[in-house]
Amino acid sequence: MKKAFLIGTVLIFLLGYIFIYQIITYNDKKLHVVVCDVGQGDAIFVRTPQGSDILIDGGPDDSVLNCLGKHMPFWDRTLEIMILTHPHSDHFIGLFEVLKNYKVKSFASEDLGNKTAGFNALMEEIKKQRIPTKYVFAGDRFILKDGVILKIVGPTQKFIQQTSPGGTIGESSEFASLESLLIYGKFSALLTGDSQVAELRDAISNGLGNIDLLQVPHHGSRFGLTADILEVLSPKLAAISVGKNNKYGHPTSFILEMLKSLKIKTLRTDQVGDIEIISDGLSWRVK
């Protein structure tokens, strides 16, 4: 009995220590953007200054859970917004694991389906958990209490109708993918999913320009960027979410050379793991 009491006391003490430590580290009133290391796939986690949690894509497996676990306090088991840029398995399988481990308050995606069993299972799970679901297009925006804005900049409804007239997406062809611009004060980050040149051009013609952080489209695929698009966006930092020795040859040397020649600092998840950017709305830094 005496021993049980001792163990209990020590555990309560340690738990209290962890609580206080995590409150100080995770609630620093700053914006955190994390490009998670999920191998060949995408998962981007955003924690706003007031502690709202946004996840954009979930990667190809359960490794997104490690990323969330590392960047959220342990008692926070809620994601305020979960977004899927487009229904491909290297972006949504992880969301399935997220739904099992977190309470998700809202879900948004582009208005495209996919006939695979995996995607159907995901949508069914979302329906089963009664998560409010919204299909978003360019022009829609999420405005959070703490001043963070997540603005959808592509694709437009017209673009989706032109590229995917059947309303579905195949496993091998990438056309429309949600592009969103995350803004906090003076800091802005463009998250691109698997989008291609045509869609970025479309977004730029609608007024997109000059950003701080660019998540390089489609894991650094040849068809994601052109030099003139990069010049308009003129990011200070480029982040590539890519798996080690992947079979697609991502990121392509074409894109890497282009970033290098424009002197844009580039970080890759296969080399550095999770990429975390912290901003107070005035300046920003890489952790």
Binding site: L14, L15, G69, K100, G118
Partner: protein, 392 residues
């Protein structure tokens, strides 16, 4: 022994030989939780006394207790009967008692998984689920690899310690207001329920049979010898399913328990503060299982004794606090969550050690191990044990 030999003869004599490329269609109940590996699910199904390892897509997700019709092609590889991406149809057959029972337990199991994984982040939640219930399907792949390389994967297999704690807990609890015999009966039922909940792996079946023997002996007022219980458990299991003899889980569980019973503890080590007992148990279990481990996995981490010593003392604490948390959590979620929180510091400690030693890796690698070596090893081991016994 004779009965077993007869059983083996008839079993293998009756077994159908499945040809490579043969097309078969059969109905079966899934009796073990399918393991998710990347984009695939893997499980074993029984077809006319033959175990078939089935690999299929990740979705739709299948569960333990599902009754299904499987149509597919056999492929034989390395003496294993496999089947890739068969057509699987779910059959609804709620009149089957076994099936509806399993399904009900599975719902309960899912509730437990949800409670833990919505309380703590991964991998802490899955580690705790593994330690208390032997539930492994939530475990992230890299963490489960680290558990293997650092030599503590066995803590997430439900086995003897779980059974002892559960049986002990139920019988003491109910002994307060029921007759002792009834309390013991309840604890036997509890052990059986737990074994099904944990997924009916060989280690938990062995432990349950031994546990039930110990508890029934208490009703009958007899003494039991662990060694007799172990052999009775092994005997019964092989009688029911002779293929278990080649199951690694069965071999390891049986050999490790035998080692714990027969190999004497080193007193000097046992006295070391906190970690001594864990080190001693690990040494005994490892001496008994070393050839099996090497032959199966090909690697052995020389740090595993140290890692086990550092970690094993936390296991019963985690089981008790987490187990009570699970029961309370099913009744009143926040109350259970508080207790599960209390496990978090220990889980963090556990994970840190596992990840450090998982990265260092196994130090000894062996290409292949001949059966002559294995036989020789066990001959030497038994002679040493006999000499030690004689001296006492």
């Amino acid at each position: 022994m004779l009965i077993l030999a007869v059983r083996f003869y008839f079993f293998y004599d009756n077994q159908h030989q499945l040809a490579n490329g043969q097309q078969i269609s059969f109905e079966t109940t899934i009796l073990s939780q399918p393991q998710v590996v990347g984009n695939r699910q893997v499980f074993t199904a029984n077809y006319q006394n033959q175990k078939i390892r089935i690999t299929t897509g990740r979705f739709p997700e299948m569960n333990y207790g599902d009754f299904v019709r499987i149509i597919g092609q056999i492929s034989n590889k390395n003496n294993r009967v496999l089947m890739y991406s068969p057509k699987i149809e779910a059959i609804n057959n709620s009149s089957n008692i076994l099936q509806s029972g399993l399904r009900r337990i599975n719902i309960f199991r899912q509730k437990l998984i949800t409670l833990f994984s919505k309380t703590l982040p991964s991998p802490s939640s899955s580690l705790l689920l593994g330690i208390i219930f032997g539930i492994k399907e939530q475990m992230p792949k890299d963490f489960s690899n680290n558990l293997k390389t650092s030599g503590v994967f066995h803590v997430i297999a439900a086995s003897g310690m779980n059974v002892t704690l559960i049986g002990g807990f139920i019988s003491t609890f109910f002994a307060f207001f029921l007759k002792r015999q009834i309390a013991i009966c309840l604890s036997i039922l509890g052990i059986m329920f737990y074994a099904v909940l944990a997924g009916l792996e060989p280690s938990i079946i062995r432990a349950s049979i031994m546990g039930i023997l110990v508890f029934s002996a208490q009703i009958l007022g007899r003494q039991t010898l662990a060694i007799n219980g172990l052999f009775l458990a092994g005997f019964t299991m092989l009688l029911v399913d002779p293929t278990l003899i080649s199951d690694i889980g069965f071999q390891l569980s049986f050999a490790a328990t035998l080692g714990l019973v027969l190999i004497p503890k080193i007193k000097a080590i046992g006295k070391i503060w906190v970690i001594g007992e864990g080190v001693n148990t690990t040494i005994a279990a490892q001496i008994a299982t070393l050839p099996i481990l090497l032959a199966t996995f090909g690697t052995y981490s020389i740090y595993s004794i140290l890692v086990n010593g550092l970690l094993l003392w936390t296991v019963p604490i985690l089981m008790i606090i987490g187990g009570i948390g699970a029961i309370l959590g099913l009744i009143l979620m926040p109350l259970g969550q508080l207790l599960i929180y209390l496990c978090y510091p220990l889980l963090l400690y556990f994970e840190t050690i596992v990840n450090i030693f998982g990265k260092i890796g196994g130090a000894i690698t062996i290409e292949s191990l001949s059966w002559q070596f294995i036989l020789g090893y066990y001959c030497l081991l038994s002679s040493v044990l006999l000499i030690l016994r004689k001296k006492e």
